[in-house]
């Protein structure tokens, strides 16, 4: 047997389970959805790449042949080198509180001034122990500057020291619009609001510092050093501006150990250019860039002209964030199911922080390529997330010359979110479809199963224990295969019933047909006997008459059951004492079977049942005849009458052979006989127990034949319903 066969024989699957299994094919839909989402993601990425590139191209095209935007800065950059200060155009004023987050939220970056900006250093000082970050911005009439100083030992101005520079301080150098060089120092005795001191330009004049109330600030100590925010009136600042940080580490000697910054100690020569990014460029970028896009404009010398936008801006328009607010039924169900989906599909990644927010220059390879005149696209992964940054770079041309490059960056966050949402939506639809189809299939299967079961039950009971046929009516009106099946069953049973009827009537008709020839033979013999026959003929006549007599008996027995059935149809029931019938009958059997012993057991009181006493007697006759036929030589036949609350049980027992298993089921059916035919005996047509069954049915009684448990033998029990009520 094959493995499948074995499995099949062990696991019995109902039609319903099979249908449910089949409906599991629908679970392929989520898989298809997943594949589809992956494909869509690829397409979206490609589209996004194209879009990013197009944005870069559009911006580059807008900036083409406008070298002023680049050349102007380029010129000054050449003049000033790394000391140039970019002042961002701020959309909002900065709160002077020492916290730098409002800078970052407005897109400004801190620019680091490191080792190469060390201006002055004590001989014994460690190499660049301090770091200065700074940013500056413009709002309305004010120029703002922010500093983040990393310095492990902060030294504040002491009240005992008159010099304002005898502590950690920030130096500011300004070229005023009227051409005057001014120097300021910001130092403080304690963290908090500060005001700058104007100091004379010569070194010795520090002591004569005087307060400059137009330069306000806030000094905030941090765990790495301090932050300082300053506000200067724009009118004060001319073309040039510079900052420096002077570090004092020893609170006793209060000597300056190092100065870091874009300003020299001696004069205006080293001041950087205060550059406000060209507004046209920013405007162009703003008009062409999409949300979630970061645009870099890079000059040919790789200096950043401007940068705008944020990669995180796309967060605000996360598609599933919008989805969560929708009110549709499906959306609500999805919201319920989302935790479930989260178990299977990780959530779409979100960008927590703006990547590379402080980068002062764009050093990406795309920019390099663009500055060499090529249009390139690239992608780089963001560390720790599945999000990638797409970058497209496009050169900006002027007079056949590359004057700059546009780099447009976007993250794949949006695409991933769309993919996520798509998968969830498809998953919901697939689950919904699976549920609906599953329920429909289950319902349909149940409907089928119920019909098939009804048909099966009817088919099982189509032939009752007595061998009578019933018709199958389940589903007989349905115009489908099950209906056809039931009709086939019905017609097969009808034909079978006709055949059974034919067989049953055959006995009657046969006996009728045989009677006439028997009469012919008999009358012929009778006539023959009246003749004088030779003496040797007598023996043959006698034998012939014997044969005739047996034939006649056979005919009589053959019609007995039919006659009985006919009689039962119009028999009149009466109330009678079954005890009297049984006792009387047993008396008769003692006479009829003189060689047999009969053990009779009846209760004292009369037992009334409703029926025909003659029939009960006849039934008993058959049972006893049967018992006598099978009883062991010399054993007793037991006849017992027992009374229960609602029934009367007549039991006829004999010792002898057990019932053969194959006969048990059909013992009481017509034409069933288990006895061996002995020559010369009365013929057995197997009608005896059938008659018992007929009479029992008429009396609503139950007949059971079984092997005895006490000795080897058989007992037949007839349970008659008892008449309890007293007619009197």
């Amino acid at each position: 047997m094959s493995l499948l066969g074995k499995l099949h024989s062990r696991v019995r699957l109902s039609i319903r389970s099979k249908m449910l299994l089949v409906s599991c094919v629908l679970l392929a839909i989520p898989w298809i959805a997943y594949r589809y989402a992956g494909e869509l993601e690829r397409i979206l990425r490609e589209n996004q790449e194209t879009a990013v590139l197009n944005t870069a191209r559009a911006i580059a095209t807008a900036l083409n042949d406008r070298p002023s935007l680049f050349i102007a800065t380029r010129h000054e950059a050449a003049l000033d080198g790394p000391n140039a200060i970019i002042a961002y155009k701020l959309p909002r004023p900065i709160a002077l509180d020492g916290r730098l987050d409002d800078w970052f939220s407005q897109g400004a970056e801190l620019r680091a001034l490191g080792r190469e900006h060390v201006i002055e250093q004590a001989l014994d000082a460690e190499v660049a122990p301090i770091t200065l970050w700074h940013a500056s911005g413009v709002f309305d009439t004010d120029l703002y500057a922010a500093f983040e100083i990393i310095d492990e030992r902060l030294v504040y101005r002491a009240a005992t020291h008159a010099r304002v520079d005898a502590a950690d301080h920030i130096r500011i150098g300004i070229h005023t619009p009227w051409g005057e060089l001014r120097r300021y120092i910001v130092s403080t005795e304690a963290p908090g609001p500060v005001t700058a001191f104007q100091v004379p330009t010569d070194v010795t004049g520090v002591a004569s510092a005087q307060l400059e109330p137009r330069i306000q600030g806030f000094w905030q100590q941090t765990n790495r050093g301090f932050n300082l925010e300053l506000r200067l009136p724009r009118a004060l600042v001319g073309a040039r501006l510079g900052f420096a940080f002077a570090d004092v580490d020893d609170p006793d000697s209060r000597t300056i150990r190092s100065i870091v910054g874009s300003i020299g100690p001696e004069g205006s020569e080293s001041l950087g250019t205060a550059t406000v990014p060209p507004p046209e460029a920013a405007q162009i970028v703003r008009s062409l860039a999409r949300p979630g896009t970061r645009v870099w404009i890079i000059a040919a010398d790789r200096r950043l002209v401007t940068r705008s936008g944020s990669l995180r801006a796309a967060n605000a328009e996360r598609p599933d964030a919008a989805e969560e607010h929708s009110q549709g039924f499906i959306a609500r169900v999805e919201a319920l199911l989302r935790p479930l989906y989260r178990l299977v599909i990780p959530p779409a990644p979100t960008l927590a922080v703006e990547p590379e927010p402080y980068a002062p220059l764009y050093f990406g390879s795309e920019a390099e390529a663009a500055l060499s005149g090529r249009v390139v696209s690239g992608r780089r992964p963001l560390q720790g997330t599945p999000i990638e940054v797409l970058a497209s770079a496009h050169p900006v041309w002027a007079d056949e010359r590359v004057i700059g490059a546009i780099v447009v960056e976007e993250t794949t966050e949006g695409v991933l979110a769309v993919r996520q949402r798509l998968i969830e939506r498809l998953l919901s639809l697939a689950l919904g479809a699976f549920f609906v189809v599953g329920v429909a299939l289950f319902g349909f299967a149940t409907h089928l199963v119920i019909r098939i079961r009804r048909l099966r039950d009817e088919a099982e009971q189509a032939i009752d224990s007595a061998g009578r046929l019933r018709t199958v009516t389940a589903s007989s009106a349905a115009a489908d295969e099950i209906g056809d099946l039931s009709r086939s069953f019905s017609s097969a049973l009808d034909r079978l019933a006709q055949y059974t009827q034919y067989l049953e009537s055959l006995a009657t008709r046969l006996s009728h047909e045989l009677r006439t020839p028997i009469a012919v033979v008999r009358s012929s013999f009778d006539n023959l006997k009246l003749q004088t026959l030779p003496p040797e003929a007598d023996v043959y006549v006698a034998r012939a008459e014997q044969g005739l007599a047996r034939l006649a008996t056979i005919i009589t027995r053959m019609t007995e059951a039919t006659r009985l059935e006919r009689m039962l149809r119009d028999a009149e029931r009466e109330r009678f004492d079954v005890r009297a019938v049984v006792s009387g009958c047993v008396e008769g059997y003692r006479v009829a079977y003189p060689t047999r012993r009969f053990d009779l057991s009846v209760p004292e009181a009369p037992l009334f049942v409703s029926g025909v006493p003659d029939l009960i007697a006849q039934m008993l006759d058959k049972l006893v005849a049967n018992a006598v036929d099978f009883a062991r030589e010399g054993s007793a036949i037991g006849v017992e009458l027992r009374a229960a609350a609602h029934e009367v049980t007549v039991t006829v027992r004999n010792e002898g052979p057990l019932l053969s298993p194959q006969i048990k089921q059909r013992l009481f059916r017509s034409m069933t006989s288990v006895r061996p035919q002995a020559p010369g005996e009365e013929p057995h047509l197997g009608l005896g127990l059938y008659i018992v069954q007929l009479i029992a049915d008429f009396h609503h009684a139950k007949v059971v034949a079984r092997d005895r448990t006490d000795v080897e033998g058989v007992e037949v029990q007839v349970q008659l319903p008892r008449l309890v009520s007293d007619p009197g």
Binding site: R522, D526, N527
Partner: protein
């Protein structure tokens, strides 16, 4: 003058066998194969006794029709059904139609001739006074074997010959149980137990028609019947 017996029977062999046997006993016998033939003959001359089969040629119940017609012609003529049909319904309908006896074809010729003789005797006895030794008296019951008549409390009980023999057999030995087989033998029937049962039932009914308090035939279950004296 010998009596004329008509045999209406579609089977030639049986008809001839019976006819031969009866002729040997001194009866005049004419045989007819179907109802029309018989009717034509009866219209000319009525027989003294008719033996009729129920199924005649292609008429299933031809015998019944013939019986009815014959009874219409004469109220006294003895009619015997001799048929292969042994069902209760046929027996009852046959007797209701006025037949004097209903016999199945299992019967032997001597039995048949005994029945015929008995019927003729009853016919004759109606005219002659009864001989004392052929009269059985058990209380209200009187069985006159000469006249083949039964009376209960001086009222005649209209029994067939078979029934009369059964009553006679029972009443002869009051209190003795008669087995069905014995009764069959006495009544010269070759039928089964249930036929005896239905005969007894009919006999009881006929007595009850005369006397609603009649209760002399007792069933001894499993054994048979006995006549109970009042």
């Amino acid at each position: 003058m010998s009596r004329l017996i008509a045999i209406v029977e579609d089977d030639l062999s049986i008809r001839e066998n019976y006819a031969d046997a009866l002729r040997k006993q001194g009866y005049q016998v004419t045989g007819y194969a179907d109802r029309n033939e018989a009717m034509r003959a009866f219209q000319t001359r009525l027989p003294n006794l008719a033996i009729i089969d129920i199924g005649l040629a292609d008429e299933i119940d031809g015998g019944f029709e013939l019986c009815r017609a014959l009874r219409g012609m004469s109220a006294t003529i003895p009619i015997i059904f001799l048929t292969a049909r042994d069902s209760d319904i046929d027996t009852v309908s046959g007797l209701r139609m006025g037949a004097d006896d209903y016999l199945t074809k299992d019967i032997s010729l001597p039995h048949l001739s005994a029945r015929i003789a008995a019927l003729f005797r009853r016919l004759d006895a109606a005219q002659t006074p009864a001989a004392a030794d052929d009269i059985l008296e058990r209380g209200k019951l009187v069985v006159d074997l000469n006249r083949m008549r039964v009376t209960w409390a001086d009222a005649p009980v209209d029994l067939t010959v078979t029934e009369l023999w059964i009553v006679h057999a029972l009443a002869r030995h009051t209190g003795h149980v008669k087995h069905r087989e014995q009764l069959m033998r006495d009544a010269r029937m070759v039928v089964d137990d249930t036929t005896v049962t239905s005969h007894i039932k009919r006999i009881r009914r006929k007595f009850i028609e005369v006397d609603s308090g009649f209760d002399c035939i007792e069933t001894v279950y499993g054994m048979g019947y006995r006549w109970k004296s009042e």
